[in-house]
Symmetry: C2
Subunit: 394 residues, 2 copies
């Protein structure tokens, strides 16, 4: 595998956009990433991997979504592969782009994540976000699943519902300064706790919203950099890991096996440890999920996330900021877009391009994590991507 | 890119199986491929790419289909990526498996194609096979699209409807000897022409059927072969090309741009030419499609397919047998399964494992082709895979 670098990133604002199509959202992100790279045009993109999950359910187009989105962005003829891995959908697409450039097949690859979940028919949106009819049949929609986990976590580790809800306050604070976030109004712990109950103990503000959006990244080899040049310091893709897992209901519901496996692979491959990480964008689909994700990633010991949250470790300005973008809870979670959107955030933080109020200092190593699947089928996919801000190739 | 070899293949019978699920079909193909490889178990599969297109529409599971299928086959924990590219879906999955082994990330990868299209609700099956609601809204379902092409082809090249229908007779003859085919009863030209009209001039027997099935292949590096051994001569994956195209309605409807591009790439990369090919499995979704596919692949000149068909060039025993498996028209076309099923056929012909009546002689070079997309969106994906029977690594 050759070294692979990120040379351009772009994303749309996340939100509820009834008037915007998947093609419209996706092409905006692609054109922004090309503009961000500075030295390339559509014609320089040699292959593309496109992640989306729900376009078949939402828009009635179950096939070749990447091809139609990219045609709108002026990109045709090239190999385009549509990738789906639940909430890790565009992380998996990003990883395939990394592999194909790393293999030496192409010098410039595009990774796009795009999703449109918001419609006037909330039933359809819920079906899409819940991974289809199966979850509904089992009554095991994501909110119900995570509510059970929250109860178990609270009992096992003696953590209060207030401490769990604090994740939403932190992430909304971060989103307040991120103009691309779906929700930006500051909220207090009282507001989080008194928002409508969705699945006890998870209130509305502890559940990620339904929304639309897209994010794109352009990956490039050293040869590509030499040929095309670059306008900003390339960010190194240190490793992309992907694993499968089960919800292991009869074993341990409070750890995500697919995260343990993918993060161990990524740490081993890069020689890095959790203590080396300067920024983590993790899959906080529910407040309690941020606890489990970070503990599964080894960012802290099991049962410790809440205490360290109260101490400010995960805040912007803290020892290891988690979800400085606002996370899924506030930035939003258009499913297929999330994985690449996390990469966009880490790249911008590394370049010093975040808004001043949420810009981190000296971001050298960043980690992104996505997990998803079907609790009703006891199946999950989990990805970990590690990026390094090391000045690019020498 | 390292050399990559196929060490095991397996597929289900194609057909209409109301009682069988996607998991059931997919896991059968996987276990057969593992058994065929002879020296490995589920635990040796290090990563998997799974192609399916319609499970969201048909079975209400739009996500992580590969993970649930493979769990039933006893394969968990590993990276599993779901891939979709219309009718080229599992060709694209196979190609990703080739890239990741070629890149050196894994020694053993699984490519699986699986689809279930047949339900008691024909409307749902048609929606899934037509690529969603969009095609129906435009009235441009595949049969209507290809009927227009047939009329244009007949007029431009002075070819009769009888000559076009002859493809169905040839492919059914081949399928007659293939126990995995969906339809096997021999049919005459008169029967093809007098079968129910679907879209003039395409009668029922000139349209591929709705059906269910799965096919799997196991890809392996030279290092993997050394470590795991192999029971049958490995088949070399010479190249996998993928391209996008449009139906180019204002230019030339009688050539498929995505096939021209992907086949040119494959010929250039391998140094092979159409005259070197001993077997071609091409995407004969309609009788007329076999004409366009083969002419776009450069297997003959434009407008020449019918004449050569009448001369027997494409028959088993002819100069270049096309679709000795029976093709989509008779073997069947469970969308996501087709690409890998073509690979299974070529591998078995190369090994001399086909049924005696349809076994080809001295198959050294094989080509598979799949194309698909949405005519209503003017978008297509096309893949070309070239396999070589050269005794494996030395």
């Amino acid at each position: 595998m050759r070294e692979v670098y990120i040379v351009g990133v772009g994303m749309t604002k996340f939100g509820k956009f009834l008037e915007r199509s998947v093609d419209d959202l996706g092409s905006e992100a692609v054109l922004k990433a090309i503009k961000d790279a500075g030295t390339i045009t559509q014609r320089d993109i040699q292959t593309a991997y496109v992640g989306e999950m729900a376009t078949g359910v939402i828009s009635g187009q179950p096939t070749v979504v990447g091809q139609t989105v990219l045609a709108q962005a002026g990109i045709t003829s090239i190999p385009i592969v549509n990738v789906e891995d639940a909430c890790a959908t565009s992380s998996a697409a990003f990883r395939e782009a990394w592999i194909t450039v790393g293999a030496g097949l192409y010098d410039v690859a595009l990774a796009l994540g795009v999703e449109k979940l918001y419609t006037t028919d909330q039933g359809i949106s819920t079906e899409a976000l819940s991974g289809g009819k199966l979850e509904g049949r089992h009554g095991q929609i994501p909110a119900a699943h995570w509510a059970m986990i929250a109860k178990l976590y609270m009992e096992k580790y003696g953590v209060s519902k207030e401490t769990i809800a604090q994740v939403s306050v932190k992430n909304r604070h971060n989103a307040h300064y991120n103009p691309l976030s779906q929700y930006r109004d500051l909220i207090t712990l009282e507001q989080v706790l008194s928002s409508r109950m969705v699945a006890d103990p998870l209130t509305l503000f502890q559940c990620c919203p339904i929304g639309d959006g897209a994010a794109a990244a352009i990956l490039c080899s050293k040869d590509g950099l030499k040929k095309l040049g670059f306008s900003k310091a390339p960010i190194t893709v240190a490793w992309c890991a992907l694993a499968s897992g089960t919800y292991e209901p009869l074993r341990d519901l409070l750890i995500n096996g697919e995260i343990v496996r993918s993060s161990r692979e990524a740490y081993k491959a890069t020689g890095l440890e959790p203590k080396d990480i300067d920024i983590a964008e993790v899959h906080d689909c529910f407040s309690i999920a941020e606890y489990l994700r970070c503990e599964s990633l080894g960012l802290c010991g099991r049962g410790e996330y809440g205490r360290l949250l109260k101490e400010g470790k995960w805040n912007i300005g803290g020892e290891l900021p988690v979800n400085p973008s606002g996370g899924l809870l506030s930035k939003g979670h258009p499913t297929g877009a999330t994985g690449v959107a996390q990469v966009v955030e880490v790249v911008r933080q590394m370049r010093g391009e975040a808004e001043p109020e949420r810009q981190l200092k000296d971001v050298m190593v960043g980690l992104t994590h996505c997990s998803g699947g079907l609790a009703s089928r006891d199946t999950a996919a989990g990805s970990v991507i590690i990026l390094k801000n090391d000045g690019g190739p020498r």
